[in-house]
Protein backbone atom coordinates (compact mmCIF):
# COMPACT_ATOMS: atom_id res chain seq x y z
CA UNK A 1 0.00 0.00 0.00
CA UNK A 2 1.22 3.45 -0.80
CA UNK A 3 2.05 5.90 1.96
CA UNK A 4 -0.54 8.25 3.32
CA UNK A 5 0.04 11.80 2.18
CA UNK A 6 -2.78 13.35 4.13
CA UNK A 7 -4.34 11.74 7.17
CA UNK A 8 -7.62 13.07 8.44
CA UNK A 9 -8.88 11.94 11.83
CA UNK A 10 -12.22 12.74 13.44
CA UNK A 11 -12.36 16.10 11.68
CA UNK A 12 -15.22 18.39 12.67
CA UNK A 13 -16.09 21.54 10.81
CA UNK A 14 -19.34 23.24 11.80
CA UNK A 15 -21.20 26.31 10.62
CA UNK A 16 -22.32 28.80 13.19
CA UNK A 17 -25.84 30.02 12.65
CA UNK A 18 -28.51 31.91 14.44
CA UNK A 19 -30.03 28.76 15.83
CA UNK A 20 -26.94 26.77 16.71
CA UNK A 21 -24.31 24.69 14.96
CA UNK A 22 -24.81 23.02 11.61
CA UNK A 23 -22.62 19.96 11.85
CA UNK A 24 -21.56 19.92 8.22
CA UNK A 25 -18.45 17.79 8.68
CA UNK A 26 -18.78 15.72 11.81
CA UNK A 27 -16.05 13.28 12.67
CA UNK A 28 -14.73 12.49 9.21
CA UNK A 29 -11.69 10.23 8.94
CA UNK A 30 -9.82 9.08 5.86
CA UNK A 31 -6.37 9.01 4.39
CA UNK A 32 -5.23 10.23 1.05
CA UNK A 33 -2.45 8.07 -0.35
CA UNK A 34 0.49 9.24 -2.36
CA UNK A 35 -0.40 9.35 -6.02
CA UNK A 36 -4.04 8.43 -5.81
CA UNK A 37 -7.24 10.12 -6.84
CA UNK A 38 -9.70 9.97 -3.98
CA UNK A 39 -13.23 10.70 -5.04
CA UNK A 40 -15.66 12.17 -2.56
CA UNK A 41 -19.28 11.64 -3.52
CA UNK A 42 -22.47 12.64 -1.85
CA UNK A 43 -25.60 14.68 -2.19
CA UNK A 44 -25.79 18.40 -1.72
CA UNK A 45 -25.44 19.28 1.93
CA UNK A 46 -23.52 16.11 2.80
CA UNK A 47 -20.47 18.17 3.74
CA UNK A 48 -18.20 17.17 0.86
CA UNK A 49 -17.55 20.73 -0.27
CA UNK A 50 -17.18 21.98 3.29
CA UNK A 51 -14.58 19.30 3.82
CA UNK A 52 -12.66 20.10 0.64
CA UNK A 53 -12.75 23.82 1.17
CA UNK A 54 -12.11 23.56 4.88
CA UNK A 55 -8.91 21.62 4.30
CA UNK A 56 -7.52 24.36 2.08
CA UNK A 57 -9.10 27.53 3.33
CA UNK A 58 -11.22 27.74 6.44
CA UNK A 59 -13.42 30.78 6.17
CA UNK A 60 -16.14 31.98 8.53
CA UNK A 61 -18.88 31.01 9.13
CA UNK A 62 -17.01 27.67 8.89
CA UNK A 63 -15.55 26.76 12.24
CA UNK A 64 -12.92 24.14 12.96
CA UNK A 65 -14.24 22.28 15.98
CA UNK A 66 -12.01 19.28 16.43
CA UNK A 67 -9.96 16.47 14.98
CA UNK A 68 -6.93 16.81 12.78
CA UNK A 69 -5.65 16.71 9.22
CA UNK A 70 -1.99 15.77 9.09
CA UNK A 71 -0.07 16.87 6.02
CA UNK A 72 3.72 16.73 6.09
CA UNK A 73 3.72 15.96 9.81
CA UNK A 74 1.63 18.95 10.77
CA UNK A 75 -2.03 19.39 11.59
CA UNK A 76 -3.00 21.88 8.89
CA UNK A 77 -6.23 22.73 10.64
CA UNK A 78 -4.43 24.22 13.62
CA UNK A 79 -1.62 26.21 12.01
CA UNK A 80 -0.92 29.89 12.48
CA UNK A 81 -2.02 32.25 9.71
CA UNK A 82 1.58 32.58 8.56
CA UNK A 83 2.17 28.86 8.26
CA UNK A 84 -1.12 28.29 6.51
CA UNK A 85 -0.24 30.91 3.95
CA UNK A 86 2.91 29.06 3.07
CA UNK A 87 1.39 25.61 2.97
CA UNK A 88 -1.69 26.60 1.04
CA UNK A 89 -0.94 26.55 -2.65
CA UNK A 90 2.50 25.02 -2.19
CA UNK A 91 1.42 21.84 -0.39
CA UNK A 92 -2.34 21.83 -0.77
CA UNK A 93 -4.31 23.69 -3.39
CA UNK A 94 -7.85 23.87 -4.71
CA UNK A 95 -9.79 24.34 -7.92
CA UNK A 96 -12.88 25.95 -6.50
CA UNK A 97 -16.39 25.22 -7.69
CA UNK A 98 -16.85 28.71 -9.03
CA UNK A 99 -13.42 28.95 -10.60
CA UNK A 100 -14.82 31.52 -13.01
CA UNK A 101 -15.09 34.06 -10.22
CA UNK A 102 -11.68 33.40 -8.75
CA UNK A 103 -9.75 35.66 -11.12
CA UNK A 104 -9.26 39.37 -10.48
CA UNK A 105 -11.01 41.04 -13.42
CA UNK A 106 -8.80 44.14 -13.48
CA UNK A 107 -5.54 42.36 -14.12
CA UNK A 108 -4.10 40.51 -17.06
CA UNK A 109 -3.69 36.79 -16.59
CA UNK A 110 0.11 37.13 -16.65
CA UNK A 111 -0.08 39.62 -13.80
CA UNK A 112 -2.43 37.45 -11.76
CA UNK A 113 -0.06 34.51 -12.12
CA UNK A 114 2.99 36.62 -11.32
CA UNK A 115 1.41 38.12 -8.18
CA UNK A 116 0.50 34.71 -6.93
CA UNK A 117 3.91 33.20 -7.62
CA UNK A 118 5.71 36.09 -5.98
CA UNK A 119 3.85 35.43 -2.77
CA UNK A 120 5.51 32.05 -2.84
CA UNK A 121 9.04 33.23 -3.67
CA UNK A 122 8.84 32.53 -7.35
CA UNK A 123 7.87 34.55 -10.38
CA UNK A 124 6.28 34.32 -13.76
CA UNK A 125 9.62 34.41 -15.54
CA UNK A 126 11.03 31.64 -13.41
CA UNK A 127 8.08 29.38 -14.21
CA UNK A 128 7.47 30.49 -17.78
CA UNK A 129 8.35 27.16 -19.30
CA UNK A 130 6.19 25.23 -16.89
CA UNK A 131 3.26 27.58 -17.43
CA UNK A 132 3.40 27.17 -21.17
CA UNK A 133 3.67 23.42 -20.91
CA UNK A 134 0.66 23.26 -18.59
CA UNK A 135 -1.40 25.58 -20.74
CA UNK A 136 -0.81 23.21 -23.62
CA UNK A 137 -2.18 20.33 -21.58
CA UNK A 138 -5.46 22.13 -21.00
CA UNK A 139 -5.62 23.20 -24.62
CA UNK A 140 -5.11 26.92 -24.08
CA UNK A 141 -2.78 29.00 -26.20
CA UNK A 142 -0.05 31.21 -24.76
CA UNK A 143 -2.06 34.20 -25.87
CA UNK A 144 -4.39 33.94 -22.90
CA UNK A 145 -1.58 35.25 -20.70
CA UNK A 146 -1.99 38.66 -22.23
CA UNK A 147 -5.75 38.67 -21.90
CA UNK A 148 -8.05 39.85 -19.16
CA UNK A 149 -10.27 37.28 -17.46
CA UNK A 150 -13.35 38.80 -19.08
CA UNK A 151 -12.02 37.87 -22.52
CA UNK A 152 -12.16 34.18 -21.70
CA UNK A 153 -15.18 31.90 -21.76
CA UNK A 154 -16.28 30.13 -18.59
CA UNK A 155 -14.73 26.87 -19.69
CA UNK A 156 -11.43 28.53 -20.59
CA UNK A 157 -11.32 30.28 -17.23
CA UNK A 158 -11.88 27.04 -15.45
CA UNK A 159 -9.07 25.32 -17.32
CA UNK A 160 -6.85 28.31 -16.62
CA UNK A 161 -7.57 28.01 -12.91
CA UNK A 162 -6.62 24.34 -13.19
CA UNK A 163 -3.21 25.46 -14.40
CA UNK A 164 -2.74 28.34 -11.98
CA UNK A 165 -3.72 26.42 -8.88
CA UNK A 166 -1.15 23.69 -9.55
CA UNK A 167 1.89 25.72 -10.59
CA UNK A 168 3.70 25.00 -7.33
CA UNK A 169 3.13 21.26 -7.84
CA UNK A 170 1.17 20.79 -4.62
CA UNK A 171 1.05 17.44 -2.88
CA UNK A 172 -2.70 17.58 -2.64
CA UNK A 173 -5.14 19.15 -5.07
CA UNK A 174 -8.78 19.51 -4.15
CA UNK A 175 -11.04 19.65 -7.21
CA UNK A 176 -14.42 20.84 -6.01
CA UNK A 177 -17.31 20.07 -8.38
CA UNK A 178 -15.24 21.12 -11.37
CA UNK A 179 -17.37 19.16 -13.81
CA UNK A 180 -20.85 19.89 -12.49
CA UNK A 181 -21.64 22.97 -14.51
CA UNK A 182 -20.26 21.57 -17.75
CA UNK A 183 -21.77 19.90 -20.77
CA UNK A 184 -21.12 16.19 -21.09
CA UNK A 185 -18.52 16.56 -23.81
CA UNK A 186 -16.62 19.26 -21.93
CA UNK A 187 -16.90 17.23 -18.75
CA UNK A 188 -15.02 14.41 -20.35
CA UNK A 189 -12.24 16.61 -21.66
CA UNK A 190 -11.76 18.31 -18.28
CA UNK A 191 -11.44 14.96 -16.54
CA UNK A 192 -8.92 13.84 -19.11
CA UNK A 193 -6.91 17.03 -18.76
CA UNK A 194 -6.80 16.66 -15.01
CA UNK A 195 -5.59 13.11 -15.42
CA UNK A 196 -2.85 14.20 -17.81
CA UNK A 197 -1.73 16.90 -15.39
CA UNK A 198 -1.42 14.30 -12.69
CA UNK A 199 0.55 12.00 -14.99
CA UNK A 200 2.92 14.91 -15.60
CA UNK A 201 3.36 15.41 -11.85
CA UNK A 202 1.48 18.66 -11.51
CA UNK A 203 0.25 17.27 -8.23
CA UNK A 204 0.77 14.11 -6.28
CA UNK A 205 -2.76 13.28 -5.22
CA UNK A 206 -6.20 14.59 -5.98
CA UNK A 207 -9.32 14.86 -3.88
CA UNK A 208 -12.03 14.93 -6.51
CA UNK A 209 -15.36 16.11 -5.14
CA UNK A 210 -18.55 15.68 -7.12
CA UNK A 211 -22.15 14.67 -6.71
CA UNK A 212 -21.90 12.65 -9.91
CA UNK A 213 -20.82 9.09 -9.20
CA UNK A 214 -20.59 8.33 -12.89
CA UNK A 215 -17.93 10.99 -13.41
CA UNK A 216 -16.15 9.89 -10.27
CA UNK A 217 -16.01 6.35 -11.53
CA UNK A 218 -13.97 7.54 -14.50
CA UNK A 219 -11.10 9.07 -12.54
CA UNK A 220 -11.11 7.98 -8.90
CA UNK A 221 -8.91 5.17 -7.57
CA UNK A 222 -10.92 5.07 -4.39
CA UNK A 223 -14.27 6.55 -3.54
CA UNK A 224 -15.45 7.95 -0.26
CA UNK A 225 -19.22 8.31 0.02
CA UNK A 226 -20.41 10.91 2.48
CA UNK A 227 -23.84 11.23 3.96
CA UNK A 228 -25.06 14.05 6.18
CA UNK A 229 -21.62 15.14 7.37
CA UNK A 230 -20.26 11.66 7.99
CA UNK A 231 -18.35 9.03 6.06
CA UNK A 232 -20.68 6.28 4.88
CA UNK A 233 -18.19 4.13 3.07
CA UNK A 234 -14.65 4.20 1.65
CA UNK A 235 -13.30 1.67 -0.81
CA UNK A 236 -11.56 1.03 -4.11
CA UNK A 237 -13.69 2.32 -6.98
CA UNK A 238 -14.28 -0.91 -8.82
CA UNK A 239 -15.10 -2.93 -5.69
CA UNK A 240 -17.36 -0.23 -4.38
CA UNK A 241 -19.32 -0.02 -7.59
CA UNK A 242 -19.64 -3.79 -8.01
CA UNK A 243 -20.30 -4.57 -4.39
CA UNK A 244 -21.44 -1.58 -2.37
CA UNK A 245 -21.69 -2.26 1.37
CA UNK A 246 -23.49 0.64 2.99
CA UNK A 247 -27.25 0.67 2.31
CA UNK A 248 -26.98 4.28 1.20
CA UNK A 249 -24.31 3.49 -1.39
CA UNK A 250 -26.39 0.60 -2.64
CA UNK A 251 -29.50 2.68 -3.09
CA UNK A 252 -27.54 5.55 -4.60
CA UNK A 253 -25.96 3.32 -7.22
CA UNK A 254 -29.29 1.67 -7.97
CA UNK A 255 -30.88 5.05 -8.62
CA UNK A 256 -28.47 6.03 -11.40
CA UNK A 257 -29.95 6.04 -14.88
CA UNK A 258 -27.92 4.25 -17.51
CA UNK A 259 -28.20 3.60 -21.18
CA UNK A 260 -30.25 0.44 -21.53
CA UNK A 261 -32.74 1.19 -18.79
CA UNK A 262 -35.96 2.93 -19.78
CA UNK A 263 -38.95 3.94 -17.72
CA UNK A 264 -41.29 2.02 -19.98
CA UNK A 265 -39.47 -1.24 -19.25
CA UNK A 266 -37.87 -0.88 -15.88
CA UNK A 267 -38.55 1.56 -13.11
CA UNK A 268 -35.53 2.87 -11.23
CA UNK A 269 -36.00 3.65 -7.57
CA UNK A 270 -34.83 6.74 -5.74
CA UNK A 271 -34.21 6.91 -2.02
CA UNK A 272 -37.37 7.89 -0.17
CA UNK A 273 -37.20 10.79 2.23
CA UNK A 274 -34.66 13.56 2.65
CA UNK A 275 -31.35 13.94 4.44
CA UNK A 276 -31.72 15.10 8.04
CA UNK A 277 -31.27 18.68 9.08
CA UNK A 278 -27.73 18.97 10.38
CA UNK A 279 -28.58 21.76 12.76
CA UNK A 280 -27.95 20.57 16.33
CA UNK A 281 -28.33 16.99 15.15
CA UNK A 282 -28.18 14.31 17.83
CA UNK A 283 -26.47 10.90 17.90
CA UNK A 284 -27.37 7.86 15.86
CA UNK A 285 -26.79 6.80 12.28
CA UNK A 286 -27.88 9.70 10.14
CA UNK A 287 -29.25 7.49 7.40
CA UNK A 288 -31.46 5.43 9.66
CA UNK A 289 -34.69 7.24 8.81
CA UNK A 290 -34.35 6.47 5.11
CA UNK A 291 -32.72 3.09 5.55
CA UNK A 292 -34.75 -0.03 4.82
CA UNK A 293 -32.44 -2.10 7.03
CA UNK A 294 -32.43 0.11 10.11
CA UNK A 295 -32.66 -1.67 13.45
CA UNK A 296 -32.42 -0.83 17.14
CA UNK A 297 -28.69 -0.35 17.24
CA UNK A 298 -28.84 2.41 14.62
CA UNK A 299 -29.90 4.79 17.40
CA UNK A 300 -26.20 4.85 18.36
CA UNK A 301 -23.46 6.44 16.30
CA UNK A 302 -21.91 3.75 14.11
CA UNK A 303 -18.11 3.67 14.14
CA UNK A 304 -16.18 3.07 10.94
CA UNK A 305 -15.64 -0.68 10.55
CA UNK A 306 -12.63 -1.94 8.63
CA UNK A 307 -13.28 -4.88 6.31
CA UNK A 308 -10.03 -5.88 4.59
CA UNK A 309 -9.22 -2.41 3.35
CA UNK A 310 -12.82 -1.37 2.84
CA UNK A 311 -14.33 0.89 5.40
CA UNK A 312 -17.99 1.23 6.15
CA UNK A 313 -19.86 3.08 8.84
CA UNK A 314 -22.89 0.88 9.40
CA UNK A 315 -23.94 -1.35 12.28
CA UNK A 316 -24.76 -4.14 9.84
CA UNK A 317 -21.04 -4.76 9.55
CA UNK A 318 -20.25 -4.85 13.23
CA UNK A 319 -19.10 -8.44 13.03
CA UNK A 320 -17.13 -8.03 9.85
CA UNK A 321 -19.64 -9.19 7.29
CA UNK A 322 -23.18 -8.16 6.64
CA UNK A 323 -25.60 -9.56 9.19
Amino acid sequence: MRDALLTVRDLKIYYRTLYGYVKAVDGVAFELRDGEVLGIAGESGCGKSTLGNGLVLLKPPMKYVGGEAILDGKNIMALSQKEIKRIRYEKISIIPQYAMDALNPTKKIRQIVDDLLREHNSSFEEKRELIEERLAIVNLSKKVLNMYPIELSGGMKQRLVMVISTLMNPDVLVADEITSALDVSTQRSVVQMLYEMKEKKAMKSIIFITHDLAVLYQIADRIMVMYAGKVAEIGPTEEMVRNPLHPYTKMLLASLPKIGVRFVNERLKGIPGYPPNLLNIGPGCRFRERCPKAFAKCEQDPPIFDLNGRKVSCWLFERGDER
Partner: protein, 282 residues
Protein backbone atom coordinates in the same frame (compact mmCIF):
# COMPACT_ATOMS: atom_id res chain seq x y z
CA UNK B 1 -35.77 36.19 5.39
CA UNK B 2 -38.51 35.54 7.86
CA UNK B 3 -39.79 38.24 10.15
CA UNK B 4 -38.14 36.58 13.08
CA UNK B 5 -34.75 36.61 11.42
CA UNK B 6 -35.22 40.19 10.34
CA UNK B 7 -36.08 41.27 13.86
CA UNK B 8 -33.13 39.35 15.20
CA UNK B 9 -30.57 40.88 12.87
CA UNK B 10 -32.17 44.27 13.16
CA UNK B 11 -32.02 44.34 16.93
CA UNK B 12 -28.51 42.93 17.00
CA UNK B 13 -27.06 45.44 14.61
CA UNK B 14 -25.31 48.07 16.69
CA UNK B 15 -24.92 50.47 13.78
CA UNK B 16 -28.62 50.58 13.05
CA UNK B 17 -29.57 50.89 16.71
CA UNK B 18 -27.06 53.70 17.19
CA UNK B 19 -28.25 55.52 14.09
CA UNK B 20 -31.89 55.12 15.06
CA UNK B 21 -31.17 56.59 18.48
CA UNK B 22 -29.31 59.59 17.09
CA UNK B 23 -31.89 60.26 14.39
CA UNK B 24 -34.68 59.83 16.92
CA UNK B 25 -33.06 62.35 19.19
CA UNK B 26 -32.54 64.86 16.38
CA UNK B 27 -36.10 64.47 15.18
CA UNK B 28 -37.32 64.93 18.71
CA UNK B 29 -35.24 68.08 18.99
CA UNK B 30 -36.60 69.41 15.71
CA UNK B 31 -40.19 68.73 16.68
CA UNK B 32 -40.13 69.77 20.33
CA UNK B 33 -37.20 72.19 20.29
CA UNK B 34 -39.12 75.28 19.16
CA UNK B 35 -41.57 74.80 22.03
CA UNK B 36 -39.05 74.29 24.79
CA UNK B 37 -36.85 77.12 23.59
CA UNK B 38 -37.49 80.31 25.63
CA UNK B 39 -37.62 82.33 22.41
CA UNK B 40 -40.15 81.84 19.66
CA UNK B 41 -38.61 83.57 16.66
CA UNK B 42 -35.17 82.48 15.50
CA UNK B 43 -34.66 85.88 13.86
CA UNK B 44 -35.71 87.98 16.86
CA UNK B 45 -33.01 89.95 18.65
CA UNK B 46 -33.46 88.61 22.12
CA UNK B 47 -30.37 89.55 24.01
CA UNK B 48 -26.88 90.94 23.88
CA UNK B 49 -24.59 89.90 21.03
CA UNK B 50 -21.44 87.82 21.40
CA UNK B 51 -22.77 85.81 24.36
CA UNK B 52 -21.23 82.36 24.99
CA UNK B 53 -23.55 79.56 26.13
CA UNK B 54 -25.29 80.38 29.39
CA UNK B 55 -28.53 79.81 31.28
CA UNK B 56 -30.39 82.40 29.25
CA UNK B 57 -28.87 81.39 25.94
CA UNK B 58 -28.17 77.66 25.93
CA UNK B 59 -25.94 77.83 22.91
CA UNK B 60 -25.02 81.47 23.17
CA UNK B 61 -26.00 84.31 20.83
CA UNK B 62 -24.60 85.56 17.54
CA UNK B 63 -23.26 88.99 16.67
CA UNK B 64 -26.73 90.49 16.58
CA UNK B 65 -28.03 88.94 19.77
CA UNK B 66 -30.11 86.20 18.12
CA UNK B 67 -30.38 82.97 20.11
CA UNK B 68 -28.32 80.15 18.56
CA UNK B 69 -30.32 77.29 20.15
CA UNK B 70 -33.58 78.68 18.76
CA UNK B 71 -31.94 79.05 15.34
CA UNK B 72 -30.56 75.55 15.57
CA UNK B 73 -33.84 73.79 16.32
CA UNK B 74 -35.65 75.73 13.60
CA UNK B 75 -32.80 75.04 11.22
CA UNK B 76 -32.92 71.36 12.10
CA UNK B 77 -36.64 71.33 11.25
CA UNK B 78 -35.91 72.88 7.88
CA UNK B 79 -33.08 70.51 7.11
CA UNK B 80 -35.05 67.41 8.02
CA UNK B 81 -37.98 68.70 5.99
CA UNK B 82 -35.79 69.26 2.96
CA UNK B 83 -34.24 65.85 3.44
CA UNK B 84 -37.61 64.18 3.68
CA UNK B 85 -39.31 65.96 0.78
CA UNK B 86 -36.26 66.27 -1.49
CA UNK B 87 -35.06 62.76 -0.70
CA UNK B 88 -38.50 61.20 -1.19
CA UNK B 89 -39.03 63.02 -4.44
CA UNK B 90 -35.64 61.98 -5.81
CA UNK B 91 -36.28 58.39 -4.73
CA UNK B 92 -39.74 58.24 -6.26
CA UNK B 93 -38.68 59.78 -9.58
CA UNK B 94 -35.59 57.60 -9.74
CA UNK B 95 -37.62 54.53 -8.87
CA UNK B 96 -40.25 55.21 -11.51
CA UNK B 97 -37.87 56.06 -14.33
CA UNK B 98 -35.38 53.34 -13.47
CA UNK B 99 -38.08 50.74 -13.08
CA UNK B 100 -39.89 51.53 -16.31
CA UNK B 101 -36.59 51.60 -18.20
CA UNK B 102 -35.40 48.31 -16.77
CA UNK B 103 -38.69 46.48 -16.90
CA UNK B 104 -39.91 47.58 -20.31
CA UNK B 105 -36.54 47.65 -22.01
CA UNK B 106 -36.24 48.41 -25.73
CA UNK B 107 -36.46 51.96 -27.02
CA UNK B 108 -38.20 53.23 -23.87
CA UNK B 109 -35.16 52.13 -21.92
CA UNK B 110 -32.79 53.80 -24.37
CA UNK B 111 -34.72 57.05 -24.29
CA UNK B 112 -35.05 57.21 -20.52
CA UNK B 113 -31.42 56.30 -19.98
CA UNK B 114 -30.30 58.94 -22.47
CA UNK B 115 -32.28 61.53 -20.51
CA UNK B 116 -30.86 60.21 -17.24
CA UNK B 117 -27.30 60.30 -18.52
CA UNK B 118 -27.66 63.85 -19.78
CA UNK B 119 -28.88 64.97 -16.37
CA UNK B 120 -26.05 63.06 -14.79
CA UNK B 121 -23.28 64.85 -16.64
CA UNK B 122 -24.68 68.33 -16.00
CA UNK B 123 -23.17 69.43 -12.70
CA UNK B 124 -26.09 69.50 -10.30
CA UNK B 125 -24.83 72.41 -8.27
CA UNK B 126 -24.54 74.62 -11.35
CA UNK B 127 -28.07 73.69 -12.32
CA UNK B 128 -29.33 74.38 -8.83
CA UNK B 129 -27.65 77.78 -8.79
CA UNK B 130 -29.24 78.78 -12.06
CA UNK B 131 -32.71 77.61 -11.10
CA UNK B 132 -32.48 79.06 -7.61
CA UNK B 133 -31.17 82.38 -8.83
CA UNK B 134 -34.12 82.86 -11.18
CA UNK B 135 -36.73 82.38 -8.51
CA UNK B 136 -37.75 85.67 -6.89
CA UNK B 137 -39.15 83.96 -3.85
CA UNK B 138 -37.64 80.82 -2.43
CA UNK B 139 -39.18 78.80 0.36
CA UNK B 140 -37.88 75.53 1.70
CA UNK B 141 -40.56 73.64 -0.20
CA UNK B 142 -39.38 75.04 -3.51
CA UNK B 143 -35.84 74.25 -2.51
CA UNK B 144 -36.81 70.65 -1.75
CA UNK B 145 -38.50 70.33 -5.13
CA UNK B 146 -35.46 71.67 -6.96
CA UNK B 147 -33.22 69.23 -5.16
CA UNK B 148 -35.60 66.33 -5.67
CA UNK B 149 -35.87 66.97 -9.39
CA UNK B 150 -32.12 67.04 -9.89
CA UNK B 151 -30.90 64.28 -7.58
CA UNK B 152 -32.69 61.25 -9.01
CA UNK B 153 -30.47 60.12 -11.94
CA UNK B 154 -28.14 57.78 -10.09
CA UNK B 155 -31.09 56.24 -8.31
CA UNK B 156 -32.72 55.63 -11.67
CA UNK B 157 -29.64 53.87 -12.93
CA UNK B 158 -29.33 51.70 -9.86
CA UNK B 159 -33.02 50.80 -9.84
CA UNK B 160 -32.89 49.98 -13.53
CA UNK B 161 -30.12 47.48 -12.92
CA UNK B 162 -32.17 45.88 -10.15
CA UNK B 163 -35.28 45.71 -12.30
CA UNK B 164 -33.30 44.21 -15.17
CA UNK B 165 -32.04 41.42 -12.98
CA UNK B 166 -35.33 40.81 -11.17
CA UNK B 167 -37.45 40.57 -14.28
CA UNK B 168 -35.45 37.63 -15.59
CA UNK B 169 -35.91 35.66 -12.39
CA UNK B 170 -37.91 32.53 -12.79
CA UNK B 171 -40.59 33.46 -10.30
CA UNK B 172 -41.57 36.25 -12.67
CA UNK B 173 -41.86 33.74 -15.51
CA UNK B 174 -43.89 31.51 -13.22
CA UNK B 175 -46.29 34.37 -12.50
CA UNK B 176 -46.56 35.02 -16.23
CA UNK B 177 -47.51 31.45 -17.04
CA UNK B 178 -50.03 31.64 -14.22
CA UNK B 179 -51.75 34.23 -16.42
CA UNK B 180 -51.01 36.96 -13.88
CA UNK B 181 -51.67 40.47 -15.19
CA UNK B 182 -48.55 42.59 -15.79
CA UNK B 183 -49.46 45.16 -13.16
CA UNK B 184 -49.94 42.44 -10.57
CA UNK B 185 -46.57 41.01 -11.50
CA UNK B 186 -44.91 44.38 -11.09
CA UNK B 187 -46.47 45.23 -7.75
CA UNK B 188 -46.82 41.74 -6.38
CA UNK B 189 -43.60 40.06 -7.50
CA UNK B 190 -40.93 42.54 -8.48
CA UNK B 191 -41.50 45.67 -6.40
CA UNK B 192 -41.61 43.95 -3.00
CA UNK B 193 -38.20 42.48 -3.72
CA UNK B 194 -36.78 45.92 -4.33
CA UNK B 195 -38.15 47.51 -1.20
CA UNK B 196 -35.17 46.93 1.06
CA UNK B 197 -32.94 48.36 -1.62
CA UNK B 198 -35.20 51.33 -2.27
CA UNK B 199 -35.30 52.06 1.44
CA UNK B 200 -31.53 52.21 1.50
CA UNK B 201 -31.51 54.44 -1.55
CA UNK B 202 -33.96 56.73 0.19
CA UNK B 203 -31.68 57.08 3.18
CA UNK B 204 -28.80 58.08 0.96
CA UNK B 205 -31.03 60.53 -0.92
CA UNK B 206 -32.23 61.94 2.39
CA UNK B 207 -28.68 62.74 3.44
CA UNK B 208 -27.82 63.96 -0.05
CA UNK B 209 -30.73 66.39 -0.08
CA UNK B 210 -29.69 67.84 3.27
CA UNK B 211 -26.16 68.35 2.00
CA UNK B 212 -27.36 69.88 -1.25
CA UNK B 213 -29.62 72.28 0.63
CA UNK B 214 -26.76 73.27 2.90
CA UNK B 215 -24.62 73.95 -0.14
CA UNK B 216 -27.26 76.21 -1.65
CA UNK B 217 -27.85 78.03 1.62
CA UNK B 218 -24.18 78.51 2.12
CA UNK B 219 -23.71 80.35 -1.15
CA UNK B 220 -26.71 82.51 -0.40
CA UNK B 221 -29.34 80.76 -2.46
CA UNK B 222 -31.23 79.35 0.48
CA UNK B 223 -34.77 80.18 1.54
CA UNK B 224 -35.42 83.91 1.41
CA UNK B 225 -37.04 83.74 4.78
CA UNK B 226 -36.87 81.32 7.62
CA UNK B 227 -33.87 79.63 9.10
CA UNK B 228 -31.81 76.63 8.11
CA UNK B 229 -28.57 75.03 9.20
CA UNK B 230 -26.97 76.17 5.94
CA UNK B 231 -28.01 79.78 6.53
CA UNK B 232 -26.58 79.64 10.04
CA UNK B 233 -23.34 78.38 8.60
CA UNK B 234 -23.35 81.08 5.95
CA UNK B 235 -23.94 83.86 8.47
CA UNK B 236 -21.33 82.53 10.84
CA UNK B 237 -18.77 82.64 8.06
CA UNK B 238 -19.93 86.01 6.81
CA UNK B 239 -19.57 87.61 10.24
CA UNK B 240 -16.23 86.04 11.00
CA UNK B 241 -17.46 83.89 13.86
CA UNK B 242 -14.27 81.89 13.93
CA UNK B 243 -11.95 84.85 13.89
CA UNK B 244 -13.95 86.41 16.71
CA UNK B 245 -13.69 83.27 18.77
CA UNK B 246 -17.44 82.58 18.68
CA UNK B 247 -17.04 78.79 18.41
CA UNK B 248 -20.61 78.16 19.54
CA UNK B 249 -21.87 79.94 16.45
CA UNK B 250 -19.31 78.63 13.99
CA UNK B 251 -19.20 75.00 15.01
CA UNK B 252 -22.74 74.10 16.07
CA UNK B 253 -24.60 74.09 12.72
CA UNK B 254 -21.75 72.33 10.92
CA UNK B 255 -21.49 69.72 13.64
CA UNK B 256 -25.20 68.97 13.48
CA UNK B 257 -25.15 68.61 9.69
CA UNK B 258 -22.15 66.31 9.92
CA UNK B 259 -23.90 64.32 12.61
CA UNK B 260 -27.05 63.86 10.51
CA UNK B 261 -25.26 62.82 7.35
CA UNK B 262 -22.76 60.58 9.10
CA UNK B 263 -25.55 58.88 11.03
CA UNK B 264 -27.45 58.23 7.83
CA UNK B 265 -24.42 56.61 6.28
CA UNK B 266 -23.86 54.46 9.35
CA UNK B 267 -27.51 53.46 9.19
CA UNK B 268 -27.10 52.47 5.58
CA UNK B 269 -24.09 50.25 6.23
CA UNK B 270 -25.99 48.69 9.09
CA UNK B 271 -29.04 48.02 6.95
CA UNK B 272 -26.84 46.54 4.27
CA UNK B 273 -25.56 44.09 6.84
CA UNK B 274 -29.11 43.17 7.75
CA UNK B 275 -30.43 42.73 4.23
CA UNK B 276 -27.35 41.16 2.72
CA UNK B 277 -26.71 37.73 4.20
CA UNK B 278 -23.10 37.79 3.04
CA UNK B 279 -22.33 40.73 5.29
CA UNK B 280 -24.19 39.42 8.31
CA UNK B 281 -22.00 38.96 11.33
CA UNK B 282 -22.45 35.76 13.18
Amino acid sequence: MTRKEFAYFFLRNKKVIFAMCVLGFLTFLAVVGPYISPYKDPLAFVGLGYQPPSKQHWLGTNTFGQDIFTQLVHGLRTSLFVGLVGGSLATVIGLLIGFVAGYRGGWIDELLMMFTNILMVIPTLALLIIIAAYLPYRGIFIQSLIIGFTAWPWTARAVRAQALSLKTREFVDLARITARRPLKIIFGEIMPNMMSYVFMVFILQFGGAILAATGLDFIGLGPTRGMSLGIMLQQATLWNAIQLGMWWWAITPGAVITLIVATLYIMNTGLDEIFNPKLREM
